[in-house]
Structures are given as C-alpha cells and as structure tokens.
Symmetry: C2
Subunit: 237 residues, 2 copies
DNA sequence: ACCTGAACACCGTTCAAGT
DNA sequence: ACCTGAACACCGTTCAAGT
C-alpha cells in the first residue's frame, strides 16, 4: 500500500519520537474519535504529532489510505477481542455485537466500511462470520449466501444505528436522555400523514422501550432461523 | 426545512429561467450522477444554472440540505415506480430490487442514506416494506422487528454492492468486464493467508458466476423464511 | 424579493529546501 | 532518508452591493 519505513537493516533511527506509520495511524484514530470525521485534518494531525503536514505524506500516500489503515486497526482489534463460543449461534451474536459496538464507539469506522467495502477490514468480519456459518453445518454455495447475508445485515444496521445515535446526541440537546429521545421519535412518527404512512404510524407505539442491541440481535436470529430452515447442505461446486 | 420560494400569491415571477428549489435539486442530481459525490460543488452547480454560488444559498440552506433533497427526490421517484403485487413475498422482492437498482444507478444516494438515515427517504422505504410485512400476517411487535431487519439488510447490501461496483469500474480498467472482475476477486481471495482466512479462501470458488441481484434476493428470502418460521402473531401492545 | 460575485476561512496535496 | 513549511488549487459559506 505505502512505502515501508523499514526495509532491511538500514539506518536504525529508533528515536522514540520518530514519525512512524503506526504513530500516525494512532494519532489519526485519536483525532477521529475526539472530533469526528471532520476532525481528521492533515494540519491537525501534524500539530498533534508536532510536525508539518508534509512530513505525514512521507509515510502515508494520502488521506484515503489513512482512513483505511485507521479502520483496519480498529476492526482488527475488535475482532481480536471477541470471545469465542462452542455454540455457533452464540458466537455469531458476539461477532455481530462486537461490530455493532465498535461502530457505535467509532462512527467513522462505519462510514469508512461503506466507502471501501473491499478492504481488509471487511474481510476480517466476513471470515469470522463465515467460520460460524460453517460450524452451523451449512455447506457448499449456501455458505456463501449465508455469510454474505449476515455481513450485509450486520454492517447495514450497525452503520444506521451509529449514525442515528450521533444525530440524537448532536441535534437534540445532549442532555436529552434515551427515553425522551425515543418518545420524541415516536411522537414524530405518529404525526405522519395517515394515508402515506399507515404502517409507520401504527408501529410508532413500539418505539419507546425499544433496545437497539436487542432488536439488532432479533434480526440476526431471523436470518439464522432462515438459514436453519433451508435445506442445510448441498454438494460443493 | 428551507425558505419557501412561494408563499401566498406574491409577485408571480414565473420567468421560465427563474431559479427555484426544484431546478436546483434537479441540477444537483444531474451533477451527482455525472461526476459523483465530488462533482457536486456550489461553483459547478452555479455554473450549470448560470448564476453565482450565492444565489443558490437563497433557496437552499447548505450543501447538506441539498443532498437530503436530492436523495429524497430519487427515492420518492423510485418507490413510485415499484410495481405492486398481491403476493407480499413478491412485492418485497420488487421494493428491495427497486432500492438496490436505484443505489447502483446513483451511488451517492447510498452514501447519503447511511449518513442521514432519519430523513424522509428512509421512512419511505420502511413504510413500503412494513406494509408488506403486515400483509404477510405478522402482527404486533414482531412487525417492527421484521420491517427493521429487512430495511437494514436492504440498505446495507445495496450500499456495499454499489460501492463495490464503483470500485470495479474505476480502479480496474473500465474495459474489464464483470466476469474478469469476479475472477480477479476470486484469485485474490484464494491467495489470502491459509491460517487467517480459511473460510474466505474456501468460498472463493463460488465468486465467479455469481449474480449480485440474485444473491441479494437470496438474502431477503433467508430473512423472509425466518419471519415465516416464527410464531407469526402476538397481541398488539 | 432575489441575484451577483468578491472575499473569508479552511482543505488536501505538492515540492523546493533543509538536515 | 526524512522532515519543514510555504504555496497551489480548490472548497463551503457569507455578505455588501446591486436590481
């Protein structure tokens, strides 16, 4: 991806304040977490590393690559922290919640995963989910479909959830608590035009007392039920 | 949302070249479709409307609002064009494919839906899916879960698919056709580290000959099977 | 009421010059 | 090899001035 900063046993300049790709990525993550996506600026990053913007370009090709690297670092750490389980169903829950919580904690990760879904970060998640699909007994081509469906759902809902949370925290007074927020949303849904939005109106009553993470897992369970209900094997290619 | 340009029977300046919110949004959509998200610039937009950037700000609060309006216009049109069906299963397929194709045709719509999921555009899709969930016989709180799961999956997969297509068209030579692209992707997956990515490697063989839209619908069917397999009703709130 | 376009503050990125 | 920081090209947005 980028120029390696160490190739072979060259001049060992191990000053502890040396600028490395790793330090840059860590600083970028800190900025991203603190000030959101707009907070990551080459000037701000340079300031936090006590250099000029140009210095960063020696280690990193451009801003896009920096975002990819930051995202991959967070996702790799997250996947590493997910506890395993002998029961595939439970293991899938844990992987899914790991992603969900990571994106909630770092909303920019969600945006980045949608922007560059072919990068390693996405593959890491896919691999983890896929192994459990295999453990579930799914075989052949159906593995591919099952894992892809889970991945699409997990990323999609996690991103939407994180964006909505951000909105709740920012647009509304940050003091507004979750209960009040859900009630406000329910009130808004109830005021929608009765002819255009009959379903949304009727379902508004279920909004308060609603738990995002539980709802998220309920969706996973729907997919898992669908997977289990199908002919579970078929010969490979 | 913004200042209305007509309120009451004021001065009727119906010159056909008058700047209206509608014309601005249409021009924005054209720019977005032609040059992607980066193509929408207040300067470029002003040029295409033969005015200065400042003029646009009289009709539209800022760029964010413009993106919201453009997205809503595309989604509203898309939902209007979806053919109905007496069979809920089929109706859901059509709604889902409508969204899928719209985002493939206008990738910026996908990015925007992820960025502001609480806007009307998302509600339009939710409402359509929800009605069919109702038609499926789901009752009470389960309606909420089923509709939300479908929405999360549909948006998530559509966005990922559109971004991947863009990547294929841009990064690879645009001449590369779909078959070659899938084979290249499969080759890449097969070269992954065997210890870290056993599942992804093993599933690479299924990548060629893979049809995105069919795979997308297969995922929908998994969810629908899950919905059907559950206790289908429960008393309302 | 509505439009014009210069000006402001801020970006990502480059690059000649340093060590 | 690696860093510095001014400079370039470009943005979103504002606003005094026009009609």
């Amino acid at each position: 991806m980028a120029k390696k900063s160490t190739r072979g046993p060259e001049r060992e300049r191990r000053r502890e304040d040396a600028l490395t790709r790793e330090r840059i990525v860590d600083a970028a993550i800190a900025l991203l977490d603190a000030d959101g996506e707009d907070g990551l600026t080459f000037r701000a990053l340079a300031a936090s590393l006590a250099t000029g913007p140009g210095a960063i370009y020696w280690h990193v090709t451009n801003k896009g690559e920096l975002l990819v690297a930051a995202t991959d670092a967070v996702v790799a750490r997250t996947m590493g922290e997910v506890r395993g389980s002998t029961r595939p169903h439970e293991a899938i829950h844990r992987i899914a919640l790991g992603v969900f919580d990571a994106i909630e904690a770092h909303p920019w990760v969600g945006a980045q995963l949608s922007r560059a879904p072919w990068e390693t970060a996405m593959l890491r998640i896919y691999e983890r989910l896929g192994r459990q699909v295999e453990a579930l007994g799914v075989r052949g081509r159906a593995q591919f479909t099952a894992a892809s469906t889970l991945l699409g759902y997990v990323i999609g809902v996690s991103v939407q959830n994180a964006t909505a949370s951000q909105f709740a925290r920012r647009e509304l007074a940050p003091s507004t608590n979750r209960v009040d927020f859900l009630e406000a949303a329910a009130a808004r849904w109830s005021e929608l035009d009765a002819r255009e939005y009959p379903f949304t109106r009727s379902v508004a009553a279920h909004l308060p007392g609603h738990d995002d993470r539980k709802e998220f897992l309920a969706g996973i369970d729907l997919i898992l039920a669908g997977i289990a209900g199908r002919p579970i094997s078929s010969s490979a290619t």
